[in-house]
């Protein structure tokens, strides 16, 4: 087995050193450039906008793609094939990736269950734990600003007769720990509170919540899709029992994620996908080796580059906020300025409609809420839960900063946002009235 691996490695090295110059020459000659079918007619075909939507997804790091490519090519074995080298090779790669992910969050590799993404992980955690312990425990606690997949899973549990407490949040988006304390019941099986919110960036006090749950022997699940790899996460220190991770939020591939399921004290979960019993029976299905290798590589890189990335994102975040607030009044930051992930900035611009601002900013790729709810015209439920009135909620824009964002892009974004907000406000009679000192809340509007 070892000599097989050594032989494969030697062959790979020889081949790559021989073929690389040949391939580089091909690339220079523009041979067989791949094109994609640009179905959407409103794209400007010639330019790519500045990408400021890191919470929706992140570009895959070239170093991650490099690790994945062999498994998208010749190393195509099924990791569950026990009888030949194709399978062993794939299994080795999967187990290596499992360790890379576990090391990032200080878990045991056996506690990592691969899924298709954080949505599936959230479904498995919420429904799986509630149903397993559902004989005696019929209560689950969550918050009003969770991701839709958690809220929808809770709704599905309610249809099955479970009681769900949706904790309100404070104006800054944080869960009040006293409210959580009051919400516990003897039959509570699970608390699910997301680590970093994807719309307003607020960072919950996960360690305190974990301690409260551990004291009361209630399992604690956190959707850490926006947190893992960006801020230090330690599942043991923070007393986390279940945690969802998403690949494409941390510069990895789309379509892969994992769920951390604690072994000590043991968390039992009823699977939502049945089949061949893969992943300790918790998630059946052939493991997608290339995606898993990508997720593992992405986690390893996040661990190595965390200091470098976080300093960069913090610097850019401060730069963007300072530039915008120095030139514009009537700007509200949604969320908390201190307990926040700096790469997610949600700003409301008074008297400017969010969608109009987005349409005016065609050279920037921005969002006014979460990607999974962007098709709806309803104001964001997260902003509503923080007490933001509908008008301000409609005028919110989310700026997402990531590893690959540059200083130039931030300056460009600030300049264009300031310019367009001023232009839109010039068109707004309400803004004009406010500038004249009129209190808009005291006006009695007549109907025509």
């Amino acid at each position: 087995m070892q000599s097989f691996h050594k032989c494969t490695k030697l062959v790979t090295q020889c081949v790559s050193s021989f073929t690389l110059p040949v391939v580089r020459e091909m690339a220079q000659k523009s041979v067989a450039r791949a094109t994609i079918d640009k179905g959407h007619s409103s794209w400007d075909e010639n330019i790519r906008p500045v990408y400021m939507d890191a919470q929706a997804t992140t570009p895959m790091d070239p170093r991650v793609l490099d690790k994945m490519l062999p498994y998208l090519g010749s190393y195509y074995g099924n990791p569950h094939s026990r009888t030949h080298a194709y399978g062993w090779q794939a299994e080795d790669a999967v187990e290596k990736a499992r360790k890379q992910i576990a090391d990032l969050v200080h878990a045991d590799p056996r506690e990592i269950i691969f899924t298709s993404g954080a949505t599936e992980s959230n479904n498995l955690a919420v429904k799986g734990v509630a149903r397993f312990y559902g004989g005696k425990k019929r209560h689950v606690i969550t918050s009003q600003i969770e991701h839709k997949c958690v809220l929808d899973s809770c709704r599905a549990l309610e249809n099955d007769g479970f009681d769900i407490t949706y904790l309100p949040v404070q104006k800054n988006g944080m869960v009040c720990l006293d409210e959580l304390d009051k919400a516990f019941r003897p039959d509570t099986s699970l608390v699910s509170i997301m680590f970093v919110n994807n719309e307003i960036g607020v960072k919950q006090r996960v360690s305190e919540i974990g301690s409260m749950c551990r004291e009361r022997k209630v399992f604690f699940h956190t959707d850490a899709a926006q947190a893992v790899g960006k801020i230090p996460v330690d599942v043991n220190e923070m007393k986390i029992d279940l945690m969802s991770v998403s690949g494409h939020k941390i510069y990895g591939p789309k379509g892969i994620g994992c769920l951390f399921v604690r072994r000590k004290p043991r968390v039992r979960v009823e699977p939502i996908i049945n089949g061949g019993g893969q992943e300790r029976g918790l998630r059946s299905g052939t493991l997608p080796t290339p995606l898993i290798v990508g997720l593992g590589a992405a986690c390893e890189l996040c661990g190595e580059d965390m200091e470098f990335d976080s300093k960069h994102v913090e610097m850019l975040s401060k730069r963007l906020i300072d530039k915008i607030t120095a030139s514009l009044g009537g700007v509200t930051r949604n969320g908390d300025a201190v307990h926040t992930y700096p790469g997610c900035i949600n700003l409301s611009f008074s008297h400017v409609e969010g969608e109009s601002l987005l349409m005016a900013l065609r050279e920037l790729a921005l969002s006014s809420g979460s990607a999974c709810t962007s098709a709806s015209l309803e104001p964001s439920y997260v902003l509503r839960a923080t007490g933001s009135d509908d008008v301000l909620a409609h005028s919110s824009i989310r700026f997402g900063i990531g590893r690959f964002t540059t200083v130039e892009e931030i300056d460009y974004t600030a300049e264009h946002v300031i310019d367009q907000v001023n232009k839109l406000r010039d068109l707004s009679p309400l803004w004009e009235m406010e500038q004249e000192g009129i209190d808009l809340s005291k006006i009695e509007w007549t109907q025509h």
């Binding site: 075909e45 010639n46 500045v50 070239p62 690959f404 460009y412």
Partner: protein, 86 residues
């Protein structure tokens, strides 16, 4: 010896990073190489320097491969890419 190798590798890493056709990957790689070099500039332990040089050599191979892959699948230029590399 390892220090000379590191300086040589650093120069190559910067040159290769500048060849990425994607604006964001290019800027990130150049910035990261500068950061890594400055971080390891004052490293005195020979053992650690050897490890850094080995890793830098591997990183160079990754960048070289990914520059090629990027060019095979190159897309439209980024709006801020005023002088696109060919």
């Amino acid at each position: 010896m390892a220090r000379n190798q590191l300086a040589k590798l650093y120069k190559q890493l910067l040159e290769e990073s500048a060849k990425f056709s994607d604006y964001n990957f290019r800027c990130h790689s150049v910035r990261r190489m500068k950061y890594c070099y400055e971080k390891h500039l004052n490293e005195t332990s020979d053992e650690k320097l050897e490890a850094i040089v080995t890793k830098a050599a591997k990183d160079l191979q990754v960048i070289q491969r990914q520059v090629v892959v990027g060019r095979l699948y190159a897309v439209e230029h980024h709006i801020l890419d005023r002088e696109p590399t060919t």
